[in-house]
């Protein structure tokens, strides 16, 4: 990879050790993946900030970087963490302490402590065609597919390195030729809510792996549908980008989505959506003691819809019900009265954290119900919680009744 004079000086250590390490990482990635050069970025997003992912080794690493003077030079947002900074949810104190060490280290490096997996709602909104260096698998898919920005599936540390240098190696999804579709999924299934889109993503992600799926037949989805589709594609698979014909900006037609490439066609009927839902269901016991939704973080629309479902009802005494969002959307939901409806019903609107990146399992829960495909995918292994998967309405019903009605 051809380095600029400035990059050579950084690599020689003229700008200090953290910058040198960051440049080494970008240069190595550029060499491996055949980048000719780096390109400037306007933003970065760092994921993997939970203590679960970082561990104490990662916390030490982040603190060392901050102490050595690492400072980002482009807007760099931070992903979800494992605690809610506005309240005590009863999580172990030492765990919260070490989690905040990580949060503080990255904030010290100049990152925005937005603590959300949907930074495009609350921090930085990339424009069409712009190169960025974001991690957070669901956000990578969203920015590439729905916004038409250009992003690889960055690991947390490479996103941070790009934020420090302000550039990223030019390879992968930054290049036109890698953004074209590989397989056509012809959708005749009726997709009614985000849970259906999540099931579609879970089913297709497992089939396509690292390839780019093209969906034909997805009609007038709302943004949340596409966020949940992408989140599922990127957890059951390694998907960085999808096209939806007539919906996403680089796919006005099937032909445009494939750009002349040959492709196979797979049919998606109601049967495949049902199979996707089965893939995301691991529970057998109908008794539910934990309901958690909002992974990725809920938007105002989703919070309003759940508040309307909860209005006048009470969460069952044996159930804990968490609805995950970030501090910005929680603020709006508070101002508009949705939070009061939710909390009057006995549910909790959390900020900063999500189930997957926190340790609700420390509170002794056994069985989870969720409408979030990403959570349903990770919770059995990552949280040791067997999981029911369905719509927001099914989750609210389970929270009120204390059991899942299959």
């Amino acid at each position: 990879m051809k380095l600029t004079d400035e990059e050579k000086r950084i690599l020689d250590g003229e700008r200090g050790e953290p910058m040198q390490k960051a440049m080494e990482m970008l240069a190595t990635l550029g060499e491996i993946y055949g980048a000719e050069k780096t390109v400037p970025i306007n933003s970065a997003h760092v994921a993997g900030l939970s203590l679960k992912s970082h561990g104490l080794a990662g916390a030490d690493w982040a603190e060392d970087m901050a102490k050595a003077g690492a400072r980002v030079c482009v807007p760099t947002t931070m992903n979800v963490i494992g605690v809610d900074r506005s309240r005590d949810l009863g999580l172990p104190k030492d765990w919260c302490h070490n989690q905040m060490r990580i949060e503080d280290a990255y904030e010290c490096m100049g990152c925005f402590g937005t603590s959300s997996c949907v930074p495009y709602y609350t921090g930085v909104l990339p424009r069409f065609g712009e190169s960025i260096a974001w991690s957070e698998s669901s956000a990578v898919v969203f920015t590439n597919s729905v916004l038409g920005a250009r992003d690889n599936r960055e690991g947390g540390p490479s996103a941070l390195a790009a934020g420090l240098i302000g550039r990223t190696p030019l390879y992968g999804f930054h290049l036109d030729e890698n953004r074209r579709g590989d397989i056509l999924f012809k959708v005749t299934a009726k997709l009614e809510d985000t849970a259906d889109y999540g099931a579609l993503g879970a089913y297709v992600g497992k089939i396509v792996g690292t390839k780019v799926p093209v969906f034909d037949g997805i009609l007038n989805p709302c943004i949340e549908d596409l966020v949940y589709l992408g989140a599922a594609l990127a957890s059951s698979g390694s998907v960085a980008m999808f096209h939806a014909v007539g919906v996403t900006p680089e796919a006005p037609t099937v032909a445009a989505a494939f750009g002349g490439k040959k492709y196979d066609t797979v049919l998606i009927t109601d049967k495949e959506i049902a199979a996707g839902k089965r893939q995301l269901t691991s529970a057998a016991d109908p008794k539910v003691d934990y309901v958690a939704i909002g992974c990725p973080h809920f938007t105002l629309r989703q919070i309003r819809d759940v508040a309307m479902l909860l209005r006048g009802k009470k969460v069952h005494k044996d159930v804990t019900f968490w609805i995950h969002t970030n501090v910005a959307i929680k603020g709006l939901a508070t101002q508009l009265g949705y939070r009061k409806i939710i909390e009057d019903a006995g549910a909790v609107l959390t900020q900063d954290l999500c189930t997957v990146l926190s340790i609700p399992e420390a509170l002794g829960f056994k069985t989870l119900a969720t409408s979030s495909p990403k959570m349903a995918f990770y919770a059995p292994g990552g949280n040791n919680l067997m999981t029911w998967y369905g719509s927001d309405k099914q989750c609210v019903d389970a929270a009120v009744r204390g059991y899942w009605d299959n």
Binding site: M25, S53, G55, W61, G155, G209
Partner: protein, 140 residues
């Protein structure tokens, strides 16, 4: 007689050990018990199996981008694979392995699943991109 394969160096270093083959992608974040190096992803091919000190062969990484930190944690906890052989290494695995000093090669000149079997003894020189395979029962 050993079999020599050539590939692309991803993360430099040398390691040797027993091969463990996995035919499906591996997601490290939330998919791995760091203390033991055991796979905990529900319904995964390697569920409840340990990857510690193995020459781990898998197609590519998947899932959460926090996986880089988990690969680094495995290295620091001494529960990481001795080396990794991928069909195609993605950035998430590459970054974590480089930080943690785990040797990684990909794009071998022969299909690793056709040449390597579980329990074979494998030497990985990830600096040169050379993999040497000793079939089970052969002299190393």
């Amino acid at each position: 007689m050993s079999i020599i394969l050539k590939g692309r160096p991803i993360s430099k270093g040398y390691a040797e050990g027993e091969a463990l083959l996995c035919h499906e992608p591996i997601g490290f974040n939330f998919g791995m018990d760091v203390e033991t190096g055991t796979v905990i992803e529900h319904n995964h091919e390697l569920m409840n199996k340990s990857i510690k000190d193995k020459i781990l062969v898998f197609p590519n990484g998947k899932g959460s981008t926090g996986g880089s930190y988990v690969v680094y944690q495995l290295a620091k906890s001494k529960t990481a694979p001795a080396a990794i052989i991928n069909v195609l290494t993605e950035t998430i695995i590459a970054v974590g392995a480089i930080m943690g000093g785990i040797p990684v090669v990909d794009k071998l000149d022969q299909d690793p699943y056709a040449v390597i079997a579980d329990g074979d003894f494998v030497k990985v020189d990830a600096t040169k991109g050379i993999v040497e395979v000793f079939k089970r029962g052969e002299n190393k």
